[in-house]
Every structure is written in C-alpha cells, then in structure tokens.
C-alpha cells in the first residue's frame, strides 16, 4: 500500500461540533487538508472561523468529533504547529521589545530551564529580516503601527519553524505594503512544503491569495481548490444568511445535554 509510506495529512477533522456559551458554533465539520496547501478560511462574521482555529489549538473545548494533526493529537504534534493569533488578543503595552516577542517563537523548542542561545537570537533576527522588521528589533512593541505589529507576529511564527501554521486574520487592519509582504512570505512557506490555514474576511483577495478555500458558515459549506470552490452558488450558500435554527439549537444543545 502506498498509503503506508505517506505521512498522515497535516490536518484532519472528523465530525467536529463546537458550541460554547452563546458564541459562534461549528457544526459537523469534516475536513482533510493536504500537505503544502495555502488555505483561506472564508465566511461571514460569526461563522466560527476563529473558533475553528482556536478549537484546533485546544483553546476551545471540543463538543464532539475529533481533530488530528499529522495523525496525532494536538498535544503530541505541538512542536509542528505555529500560531498567529489576532492582533488584539495580546496586550501591546507589555514590557517587551520586538526581538523578545520573536524569540518567544523559539521557546517551544527550548523546553524548561534553557535560555535562548546565540543561534536562537540569530534565527529570530533572520525572521525579522524576512518581514523587513530588523531595524525595529529593539523597539518596545507599543510603539509599532498595526502593520508592524502583524509583521512581528509573523516573524514569531516563522521562528517557530513549524510545518503547519494557523493564522487568525493576519491581514486585518494592515497597510497595503504589509499585506503584500505577508502574502509573499505565506507563498514562500507554502513552496517549502508548509501547510497554512489563514482566516481571511475579504472575498476578492481571497481568490487571489489562496490556492484552496474553506468556505465556512457554522458548517463547512465547501472545501477544495480555489478555482473549483469559488463559485456563485457556494458563496451564496456561505453568505446567504445565518442558519438561525442551527445556532438556536446549538445553544439549547449546549445548555440541555452537555456533551463533555
């Protein structure tokens, strides 16, 4: 069997349902992302795009179903996963400079009690160079523009040297130059065989940027190569209003029979 020699898919999701409090839910998601793809996760507000990523990262509890990363649980595959959260998710007044933040990407590899070495610092600097932020290495993070902050996050993800990346709205509120810079890096990572899932909210550019799209509106509407998926019909299904009953029931379901 050829399959035995092939590595497990970077991301495999089976029948995933997530419902928490009264926030967006995911319903019966089934998905297998092939290696080396640059996937745009697209859908209207409240479609559960961020929830999907957070669930994969173990930040939101799974209602039912399972997720596998390179054929393993998230905990076991953790060193192969890189994460770029939404920019607002951290406190930008935090007393660290740009290089400190990028170095954090190396912490997972270092393990307990080890300090970042010269090599780690060199890698972090190289990653900063890639996002054209090396002149700002010693700057306090509060004194950066939105686009610069996003580049720092990207550099940190690069420093993680992962095989599978999750990025939550990396293009939100950034300038055009940053947007181009980010997409170039994403392309480069993809060409090096990395797998990337990127939450994105702008339809026209989604078609341009990603080679695969994941259309999401609580349930998985469609997933596949962009040219096949980007159809009027699919988009209407995705953006054609929320399935109100689905979200009502998800709340009832969560309150009623909690599936722990």
């Amino acid at each position: 069997m050829i399959d035995d020699y092939r590595e497990a898919a970077p991301l495999e999701i089976h029948d995933l349902t997530v419902a928490y409090q009264k926030k967006p839910v995911l319903y019966g998601i089934d998905l297998e992302v092939p290696k080396g793809s640059l996937v745009g996760i697209v859908g209207p507000n409240g479609a559960g795009k961020s929830t999907l990523i957070k669930t994969i990262m173990g930040l939101v509890p799974i209602g039912s179903g399972w997720i596998k990363i390179f054929g393993k649980s998230f905990k076991k595959a953790i060193t192969r996963v890189g994460y770029v959260p939404q920019r607002e998710s951290v406190d930008w007044d935090f007393p660290v400079n740009v290089l400190d933040v990028v170095l954090m990407g190396r912490y997972g590899r270092l393990g307990l009690l080890k300090k970042p070495s010269k090599d780690d610092k060199d890698i972090a600097m190289a990653c900063l160079e890639k996002v054209k932020m090396s002149p700002y290495a010693n700057r306090q993070i509060a004194n950066l523009s939105g686009g610069q902050q996003q580049r720092v996050f990207l550099a940190r993800a690069l420093a993680q040297e992962s095989d599978l990346y999750f990025m939550d709205e990396p293009f939100a509120g950034v300038d055009a130059a940053t947007e181009t810079a980010i997409i170039e890096i994403l392309q480069e990572l993809k060409n090096r065989g990395k797998t990337l899932l990127v939450v994105h909210h702008d339809l026209p550019t989604a078609k341009q940027y990603f080679d695969r799209l994941l259309l999401l509106n609580m349930r998985l509407v469609a997933f596949g190569p962009t040219e096949e998926i980007f159809t009027m019909e699919n988009l209407q299904k995705t953006y054609g209003g929320r399935l109100t009953i689905l979200s009502d029931v998800a709340v009832e379901r969560n309150l009623g029979v909690k599936v722990d």
């Binding site: 007044d93 349930r219 009953i245 689905l246 009832e252």
Partner: protein
C-alpha cells in the same frame, strides 16, 4: 520606640459572664440599650450597603468599593485630629473627602498611564491605607492621644456605636433610600449601558459621581460597625447573593437590602453570644453563608438544582431513547404488531435483556407502556412478554422520532450536510428541540413526510389527531 496597642477585634458581649442561652435571650429581649443600638445599626447598614452594593456589583465595580473602604482611613485619622475626639461629624467629613480623593486618584491614574485597572485599585487601596496607618500610629503614640475608639475603625464594633452614630447612620440610610427611589431609572440605565445613557441626555457622569458619593457615605458609616478591612464584604456579598437569585434589578435591590440586614443582625447576635467574639467578621461570615446557600441551592442558578436538572434530563433521554427504539421495532414490521417482544427490543438496541428490562421498568413507571402476555407464545418466560405503548407513550415516541428525522432533513436540505453524516447529531438534538423550533422546522421544510433515508416522519397534525397507536392509523398515515 516600639509601640504596641491593645488592639483587639471588637466585640459586644463584654457585659456579663452568663451562659450562651441566657446571652441569647438577653439579645433577643432587646433589654440592653447597647443591644438595641447594635440591632438598629445593623439594620440600617444592611439596607444601605445592600442597596448601593447592588449597583456596584452589576457594574463590575465591586473592587472599587474595596479600594474606597481602605482609602477612607487617612480621612478618619485626620477627622479625629481635627479636635482630638471621636466626633462623628468630623470623622464623617474627613473620611468622605479621603474616599472621594481615592476614587478620583483611581480614575486619574487609569486615564493618564498605561497601568491596568487592577493594579491601580491595588495601589490606591494599599497606599491610602498605608497613610492611614501612619497617621493612626502617630495618634496612638501621642502622649495626649485619646487612644480608645480609633482602633475600632479597623475591625469594627457594633456595640461601640453611640446614639449620635446611629442618628448619622439612620439619616444616611434614609438619604440613600430616597435618592435611589427617585432616581431609580437613571441609576438603572447608567448601570446597564453608560454610553447609551449619555446619548439619551441623562447626565450620566453626574449620576455616576452621585453613586460614588453615596457609596462613600455608606462605607464611612459602616466603618465603625464592620471595620475598614471587611466593609467591602457588606457591599459585595449580599448584592452578589441577590444577583444569584433574581434577574430583575428592583428585586435585586430589595433582596440585597434584606440579606444585608440579615447578615448584620446575625453578626451582632453571634458576637453577643460569646465573650471574646468580634462583630464585623461574624457579619461577613453570615453574609458569606447566605451567598454559599444561594450559590448551591438558588432555584435558577444554584449548582444543585442545575445538577438535578441535568440528572433528570439524562433520565428523560434514556426514557425517550427506549420509546424511540420501540417505535423503530414496530416500524420494522410496518406497525402490524400490537407490541414489541422483550428479546426483539434487546436485539434491536444491541444490549442485554437485563439492561432492556431496566429501561422498560422506567417507561412502565411513567405510564408510557404496558406489559402483556404474548398470546402466540407458549412460554411465560419474561423475554417473551409483549411491550405495548400506551397512548401517551405512543405520542412521545412519535415526537422523538419526528424530531430526529426532521433534524436530519434540516441538516441535509438546509445546511447541505451529506445524508450519512446527520444521524449522530440528530441523536442528540432530538432530545432538546422545543415545540417552537419544531414548528419552525416543519414550516421551513414545508411539512415533510419523509426523512433523508426515506422513512416516515410522524407529523404534528397526525400526532394531534391520533392518540392511539395501531397498525391501521400508522399505515393510513403512510
């Protein structure tokens, strides 16, 4: 050089040394003037703190109350220095000013630095308290310092309240009641949505500061009875208890005042029983006990009712699943049989006869089924007994099957799920669909009769027309 004062947590019961029972009687008879004053004080304070505490709890300002209660300490000391006596008015004025400076300092530091709110509150709380301690220890170390009385502000002593203290507490309580009564709707709207309140032309900021002023008043008058450290508990705990029990603001105000009163009285009573027992801590423990009771047993949000509800629900689910299984076995035979045999049901559910028997006993108890001898069978062995659904049981079974199949249909038709992916989800959802949702689903799906697998969906209309189950009614429906 090194000073030590006899600062004991305050207590009421230094009056006599009698048995606990006699002490209790004495308290309840209200014979002693000290007891009467303590009781009156506790009632006023409870009402006062409960009312204002409710607003700060719903506005998530609970710890502003805490910071405020510590911030008044330097004011108390300065008020005392004014003429070296425990003059209630001077202390009241000093403490109010210090409290307001504290609140303003919190806002100022928060607005002009990047320091987060929690740290700011901590700094103001402990910093002002430090100043207060310095002033208090200075007073205590003065040769002519009136040493009695001031330490009471730290732990509180309800019995040390004087008649003039009670007059002050009473008037402040009355003032708070009047203001809250007349401006209830303004306080309500600024608590719920501050910027909306501003947009409607209500002077929201003015009401905010009015609330802070009243809060400071309450803290200051409560100080003597409860003490600086624990006064915030009297603001927060009764209000949080009320918050667990009701969803309406005016009821919350009433309950919080009631709980505050109860805590105050219980605290005063308990500290009277023993000889060496402080008042403030007992009030707090009483308030916390009420909170724990509400936390555990509150009908709406209590842990135990929630737990029981969940347990009850899983019982319901088991019953419903049994009914559904019976329906499915009947359906297999095109509803030709009057009932279902035990072993057939066990086989269908892929479980042991004993398990099935347990489940059947549950539905028998609920009057959803009857157990009959099987006419066709020679044996009396219970495996061969026939389970027949009663009209109620039949209706419930149909409802559950309908919910399941409607949901499968909804997922395939509306949410574009593959037909082989919907069963698992429907297994859960069937138990939680409410009548309203079912009606909406039926309408949206245009009153369907077949699920994605081609099976019959027992319709609502059908359920209403036919209470009984027999092969004919089911078949004619098809």
């Amino acid at each position: 050089m090194f000073f030590q004062s006899n600062l004991h947590a305050a207590k009421i019961g230094e009056l006599t040394e009698t048995s606990v029972f006699e002490q209790a009687l004495r308290f309840l008879s209200l014979k002693d003037p000290a007891v009467r004053i303590a009781v009156l004080g506790s009632i006023f304070l409870g009402i006062n703190c409960g009312l204002l505490g409710s607003f700060i709890v719903v506005r998530k300002l609970a710890l502003v109350g805490d910071a405020l209660s510590h911030a008044v300490l330097p004011g108390v000391a300065l008020g005392f220095m004014w003429n070296m006596t425990k003059d209630p008015i001077a202390i009241f004025v000093g403490a109010t000013i210090a409290g307001l400076i504290g609140v303003t300092a919190v806002n100022l530091i928060k607005d002009t630095t990047k320091i987060k709110e929690d740290s700011v509150l901590g700094m103001v709380l402990a910093g002002f308290y430090g100043v207060g301690i310095v002033l208090l220890t200075m007073i205590q170390n003065l040769p002519f310092g009136n040493k009695s009385g001031l330490d009471k502000f730290l732990f509180g002593q309800a019995a040390a309240l004087s008649v003039s203290d009670i007059q002050l507490i009473g008037s402040i309580t009355l003032l708070c009641l009047i203001i809250v009564y007349f401006f209830y709707k303004e306080f309500l709207v600024i608590s719920f949505d501050f910027s909306f309140a501003q947009s409607t032309g209500i002077p929201a900021k003015a009401f905010h500061y009015l609330l802070m002023l009243l809060l400071t008043f309450s803290v200051v008058v409560a100080l003597q009875a409860v003490g600086v450290v624990l006064v915030s508990a009297l603001l927060i705990t009764p209000a949080a208890t009320a918050y667990l029990l009701t969803d309406r603001m005016h009821r919350m105000l009433f309950l919080a005042a009631l709980f505050g009163m109860l805590s105050g009285l219980t605290g005063a009573f308990l500290s009277f029983l023993g000889n060496d027992l402080p008042t403030g801590p007992f009030m707090v423990v009483a308030a916390s006990s009420l909170f724990i009771a509400a936390f555990l047993f509150g009908p709406r949000y209590g842990l135990i009712p929630k737990f029981l509800k969940r347990k009850n629900q899983s019982y319901q689910i088991e019953v419903e699943n049994t009914l559904k299984a019976i329906y499915q076995v009947l359906e297999k035979n095109n509803f030709k049989e009057e009932g279902v045999l035990f072993d057939k049901l066990a086989e269908h559910r892929n479980e042991s006869i004993v398990d099935t028997e347990n489940q059947i006993n549950k539905i028998l108890k609920m009057g959803c089924a009857t157990l009959n001898e099987n006419e066709n069978s020679d044996s009396n062995y219970f495996k061969q007994k026939l389970i027949s659904l009663t009209p109620t049981g039949w209706t419930r079974a149909c409802e559950i099957v309908r919910n399941h199949r409607l949901w499968e249909l909804y997922l395939t038709n509306e949410a574009q799920y593959a037909a082989d992916h919907v069963h698992e989800d429907a297994e859960i959802i069937e138990h939680v669909l409410g009548d309203d949702t079912v009606r909406k689903l039926e309408k949206m799906l245009n009153f369907p009769t077949r699920d994605p697998h081609g099976k019959l969906i027992p319709g609502l209309k059908y359920l209403e027309d036919n209470g009984t189950h027999n092969s004919k009614s089911a078949v004619t429906q098809i």
